[in-house]
Amino acid sequence: MLALLLLMAFVYNNNLVYLLTFLLASIFFITILHTFRSLSGLSVQKVRSTPVFLGDAAGFEIRIDNPGGSARHIHITLESTERLMLKTQSQTQLTVYAMTQKRGRQQVGTITLASTFPLGLFRAWSPVRLSFETLVYPKPAQSQLPFPETPAAHVGQGLTKKGADDFYGVQEYQAGDSVKQIHWKAFAKGLGVFSKQYSGESQTEIWLDYQFTPGNTVEDRLSQLCRWVCDAEKLGVRYGFVLPGLSVSPGQGREHTRKCLEALALF
């Protein structure tokens, strides 16, 4: 466009067209400085990441500091791009997501901060490489296998299925609930899928052992174990956990689960 304007000015010897051309050219040139400035001084810090199951998007929470005296308009890209405005002298927290490919530790990869501010003619960008990782647990298996029968060596009584005696309450259907437990009446009324819970001898313990886990490959087995760990946690079953070279005594609760899942992720 500028070349065309310059040609126009030349052909018609028109000084005002020259002036306009030069003005636009200098404005466009100056925007390089403005674009650069819209990124300069920003600092990116990691905040936290939450572990995810393989196949889900891993979220990395970061904080962007804008110490400058002007608002910034930036694009932030990890796997998808997001537009963002950072207010004057502010801190902005946001989460960027990356798809997970492999079980284990996953690095955040390169987060790119870019800006085309103010006129979109130039783009300044800055790749940010944080040492920021998250744990990727195995993907829970799809199939609903019952909990394994535990070798008596570990437990005296063996496994008693979760109480089949007294009706305890209704809760939303969770993957892994038995078909028998489904509250069909409520389902027929169109209220959704609920499963009936019975309280029984809830002090039952199960052992989730790698050795006794079906599966063709290591990953299949880990995947099944992962599923069981999740189900057991959901159903409130106390479970012990055994991997080659690692044994976790029976327990319950979030911390216990986390320990088991972490072991699975890093196996």
């Binding site: 466009m1 304007l5 028109n14 003005l23 200098s26 925007t31 403005h34 537009r83 103010p118 006129l119």
Partner: protein, 652 residues
Amino acid sequence: MIDKFYLPRPVLIFLLSTLGLIVFPHFFNLPVNLMVLFYLMLGWRFIGMWKPLWLPNKVLLFMLTTGGMALLYFQHQGVVGRDAGTSLFVTALGLKLLEIKSERDIYLINFLAFIVAASQFLFQQSILMAAYILFVCCVLVATLFCVNSHDHKTFSALKYASLLILQGLPISIVLFILFPRVEAPRWILFDEHRAKSGLSDTMEPGSISDLVLSDDLVFRVRFAGELPPAWQRYWRGPVLSWTDGKRWTQAPNLSVIKSPPSPQFTGLPYQYTLLMEPQNKNWVYGLEMVADYGFPVHQNANYQLVTSDDPNKRAEYTITSYTRFNTGSLSAREAQDALQLPGGASYNIKQLVTNLQGFDGDPENFIKRVLNHFKVENFHYTLTPPLAEDHPIETFLFESRQGFCSHYASAFVYLMRIADIPARVVTGYQGGELNPVGNFLEIRQSDAHAWAEVWLQNKGWVRVDPTAAIAPERIENTINPDQLVAGELIRYLSVDGHAQGAYNWLRQARQLWGHVDYNWQRWVINYDNKNQSRFLSKWGISDLKTMIYGMVAAASLIIGLLAWMLLHQKQKSTAMALRIYQRFCKKLAKQGLIISTGEGPKDFAARARFKFPAYAKEIDFISAGFIRLHYGKDPSLEELKMFRRRVARFKI
């Protein structure tokens, strides 16, 4: 970047309104049907914001494009040239509006709009138009800003755009001054010449009165020294010596006649620069009598200046004139031209010449008597005399006795020739209004004038202005054209302030504007190849290489400065900390404790603590704060503010 394109509606409304503003002035330049087509498409796009389904699909868009191009072709027979090219861009802009699919389209539309805005300057180059275009370009930049930020408020976008323009201005001025101007070869110019009013090479009854009503500027003159007195400001144009009794024309084959010897000049020289507005004739109106002039001006056999440049462009000439001169002897050809008469004179005229002792052989006495005749008899000066078709001179002399300069000049010359005195009519401009702000004369079409020239023994050609005899005010003052239209007889505008205050105020404003406009024309519009080298040689820049080096150096310097200003905020905040600390030092200095050069804040604090133990805590705090803010990491605004408050509160 962004996969899904989304343009917020306020931004689109903003963009469309801007486009409406940009194209609007082209109503004066382009065919109306093309303009209507553009505004229809603009309106269509507007409606499309609320009814997206109404926007044209591909087939319809193709048909519209074909239709638009056909219309363009019929209108201009092509796409080459100023008018056709501008129409092409306007039509393309309109069509593109109907098809906004991605962010790329917005940029394309913006760039097309910049071109359309610039094309306006091919038609009009006034200051007002420049200001208008600057404004619309600011709005265009603002739309780009809106697309690229989250801020869609019109005001803040305009503010940012103006900031960008302000920052861009210094560089563009440097580029404007130093960018080498090369004249485009003539064949590239497709410009059509427009008819302009001005003096013509013939004089017929009424020909000058048309001009007198026109307020258009013809040329401006800036004198190097003193100005000649008002009654000597005769700007010489074509000399008319041939007449058929009604029409007066220039002598034929003027161009081949050898120039007469240069006149003898006495008295003071007047040196001046003359800035001609675009004209349709190549005449340059020099002050009588021109002594010195430079290329591309020549002098013809009638002492009239002509230029060999394109008169349709503004041009500047430097000329020297003397008001006292003697042209010497009369050539045979001049004598023949200056005594030519269309057949014999009527009885009435011969009688008049006899009565005024025209045949007695003393030309100077005869001239006086003729002028006196105009004065004492009932002659009137008016711009609307009764029409006399057959014998205009006789009708004027004996019946109507009403006329303006061309009547008086032609009648006077006719009487002289009857009395066998060589005489001819000179047309040109007389007077001119002094612009006190810029100290130059403005000569407008309303200053067009015709006078007579008589050849006298030992004096050569002498100017005689019969109009001055009947209406001396015409020569001393300027006609006020507004009043001319209203009344039949002319009233004059007095220069020395008898007019009403309001009018004076208007006049001053007009003069100020005239001054600004003069400089605009001279330094901006007319800054061509020649003016550039003249201007730059003052600064020692004479060749192309230095020019380009200078341009790059100056532009880089400004960019460097701008970069420093824009990107060095840290510098600023630490400087602020230092300033605040100095305030603290001053307070201590009042108490006799002066920081010595090279003394660090820690040492100074130790001395202060020792001298004013009561304030030790405060002194320590401020010193530590300063060290942290000045030498540490970027301080935040909050910290600085706190530091300032602390220092302000510190009293000793």
